[in-house]
């Protein structure tokens, strides 16, 4: 695996970069949540984004998905700057995400949750819906097909008529991934998908993430569990206090003194409690 220059400016982005952050800073009043962060996610890889609590990982997700717009710097997706695109437009462009605290639509069924994701690319309008036009019927059919496929992939096919709020915790986490996948993203961003999982579930999840990647998606993964991140990621980027402190293949990052200093103390704790 070739090394990339870590502080690569716009000029150095390779053709294989699906998403790149270029000198992104984000400021809330006096607080710098992100400070000149640059990294890229390459097509077809699993990139782990790690760092101690409050390092700015979720903030990164929020910048990528249009929740915040960077104070300075640029986010490119497939070569194109995101600019001031609205959140739903970014999703349609091909970035989908899950949430650290599960945010399903609790009073909709599991299937309906996933259908909302599938609807991201649908164009049915009021007239279509009222007149049951061919477009509407085609989109409904396709949507349901997509939704069922994704749910089968996530092992949720038996739970499709259950209300999201009645699913077990693990199922809810998987349903979030299913919903995100139904938007047919190129890049799937997972925000601590293994939080609260036991070791068996974590192993399952690692498997699942690999299968997601093998199905042709690029995966960006925020995770606290070192074992999981190091086990599944192709490369790892480390943030601390809103700055990037390291980047590389898991083995290198694991031995990086800066990372050990920043991270290991807190890491030991999380691993024990998990």
């Amino acid at each position: 695996m070739p090394e990339t220059p870590t502080d690569g400016g716009p000029g150095t982005s390779t053709s294989s970069a699906l998403l790149s952050l270029e000198n992104v800073s984000l400021q809330f009043g006096g607080l710098k949540a992100l400070d000149d962060v640059s990294f890229e996610v390459r097509e077809g890889e699993i990139l782990g984004l790690i760092g101690p609590n409050g390092a700015g990982k979720t903030t990164c997700f929020n910048v990528m998905t249009g929740v915040y717009h960077p104070t300075s710097g640029l986010v490119r997706f497939a070569g194109e700057p995101l600019g001031n695109r609205k959140r739903f437009a970014i999703t349609r462009l091909g970035i989908a995400r899950t949430f650290q605290n599960i945010r399903l639509f609790p009073n909709m069924t599991a299937l309906e949750n996933v259908l909302v994701g599938a609807d991201a690319h649908h164009r049915t309008n009021v007239i279509d819906a009222l007149l049951r036009t061919p477009r509407h019927r085609r989109e409904e059919r396709e949507g349901e097909q997509t939704a069922r496929e994704v749910m089968r992939f996530m092992g949720l096919e038996r739970r499709s008529d259950e209300l999201a709020r009645n699913l077990s915790y693990g199922e809810q986490r998987r349903l979030e991934i299913a919903r995100a996948m139904a938007t047919k993203p190129k890049l799937l961003c997972l925000d601590e998908p293994a939080a609260g999982f036991n070791p068996a579930e974590k192993a399952q999840l690692m498997n699942l993430i690999r299968r997601v990647r093998d199905s042709g998606l690029t995966v960006l993964l925020i995770e606290h569990d070192m074992g999981l991140v190091m086990g599944v990621s192709d490369r790892v980027t480390v943030l601390e206090f809103g700055r990037k402190i390291a980047e590389g293949v898991p083995a290198d990052v694991r031995d990086d003194p800066a990372v050990i200093a920043a991270y290991l103390g807190t890491e030991a704790d999380t691993e024990e409690t998990a």
């Binding site: 959140r87 999703t91 009021v126």
Partner: protein
């Protein structure tokens, strides 16, 4: 340690809630039995029900009928409440937007018909209804575009203001007839085809009264049944459309927006556009019923559109069970019908109405007919409660 700091009240408070839930009768049973019937039987039952609804003003059933006011007129009132409530249900029940000024749309629809049909121009009724609906929908978009960006609770007060602004504008503009109002609003065109005799009742025995007939289809002053039929027909149309939207991407987008706006947006739902669409749809239906009201009434003035009407509409939706169209229909019927049925008590009826709202909210907080979801969730929760109690006892 943690046990001590947990307030004992928290667990104690939950117990009566659970017990209360379990006492509720099983609404699912009837639905299940109906669902199990063969399709032709279901169609037949539906047809009979529809026929019965259309025949109501002719039957003039005892107990149900209103002794103090014309039953046909009461049925029209109920029907127009149902129509309004179906519209508000899209805004409130589906999209979760609290609109306290829904009467504003109702008034815009009514005033469009009145102003363009009588006061400033004399357009034909067939022109007026679509115009009223279009203008109301536009007013919904105009109101929604700036205000739907503000937070939910504020939307309530802004819409409340909208309802008042519409009424006060009508009250203070010479062009809109000021306090005197507008008379000679065109009625729907009549088409005299045949006469239908009404039923009369002597105690509980019915006989066909050949002297008392309803002309089909004459929109006059005395006999209100044709207006009721018109409104009922519109209700069926709106119900059909409601169902179509509900079972499409649009219904899902509304629901997702209601459940979690940010998550919906991040799943590719342009939530603002869908909220605006819900608002416009609600305005459309509200305007339609307002137009209908004006052309039945023949006369409107600002007093016809008090703020309290918005509150009544809201009560209709919530009492029935926001989000469930059948519940909403029931709620509207209750809210419109009860005060008319008990007009004998005249001055006490609003007092009783207030008390009824209070009791309903407290003892049936999920509405008379909650949406299927709430019901299912409840069933599961009841099961869980039962299980918990079982383990506690063991």
């Amino acid at each position: 340690m943690t046990d001590k700091t947990t307030p004992a009240g928290a667990t104690a408070a939950r117990k009566p809630a659970a017990a209360q839930k379990r006492r509720g009768w099983d609404r699912g049973a009837l639905g299940r039995r109906l669902g199990a019937l063969p399709t032709p039987v279901k169609v037949l039952l539906m047809a009979l029900l529809v026929l019965l609804l259309y025949a109501l003003p002719l039957l003039d059933l005892p107990i149900l009928s209103t002794p103090d006011t014309d039953f046909g007129a009461v049925l029209f009132t109920v029907a127009s409440y149902v129509l309004v409530a179906l519209g508000l249900n899209v805004v409130l029940g589906y999209a979760g937007l609290l609109d306290l000024g829904y009467v504003g749309f109702y008034a815009v629809g009514a005033y469009t018909v009145a102003v363009l049909g009588s006061f400033q121009a004399q357009l034909s009724w067939w022109m007026l209804i679509p115009l009223a609906v279009i203008i109301t929908t536009i007013s919904g978009v105009l109101l929604g575009a700036p205000t739907l960006r503000v937070r939910g609770d504020y939307l309530a007060i802004v819409t409340l203001g909208f309802g008042e602004i519409i009424r006060l504008t009508a009250l203070n503009s010479a062009w809109l007839g000021e306090a005197r109002g507008i008379t000679k609003i065109p009625r729907p065109p009549s088409l005299e085809l045949f006469e239908i005799p009404n039923l009369s009742w002597d105690g509980f025995t019915a006989f066909v009264d050949l002297d008392n007939t309803t002309k089909f289809l004459v929109f006059g002053v005395a006999d209100q049944a044709p207006y009721y039929w018109l409104a009922l027909t519109l209700i069926f149309l709106v119900l059909g459309a409601d169902r179509m939207l509900r079972l499409s991407r649009i219904g899902r987008a509304w629901e997702a927006t209601r459940e979690d706006e940010d998550a919906a947006e991040l799943m590719g739902v342009p939530t603002f556009r869908f909220k605006l669409l819900a608002f416009a749809t609600g305005a459309f239906i509200g305007g339609l019923s307002g137009a209908l009201f004006a052309s039945r009434q023949g006369f409107i003035n600002p007093i016809s559109f008090p703020l309290l009407l918005s509150i009544l509409f809201l009560a209709a939706v919530v009492v029935g069970g926001a989000g469930n169209r059948w519940g909403v229909i029931l709620g509207a019927a209750v809210v419109a019908y009860l005060p008319e049925r008990f007009r004998g008590f005249e001055e006490w009826r609003l007092l009783v109405f207030g008390l009824a709202l209070l009791l309903l909210a407290n003892f049936r907080p999920q509405g008379l007919l909650p949406p299927r979801r709430t019901r299912r969730v409840q069933a599961v929760e009841e099961e869980l409660d039962a299980l918990e109690e079982g383990t506690a006892r063991a």
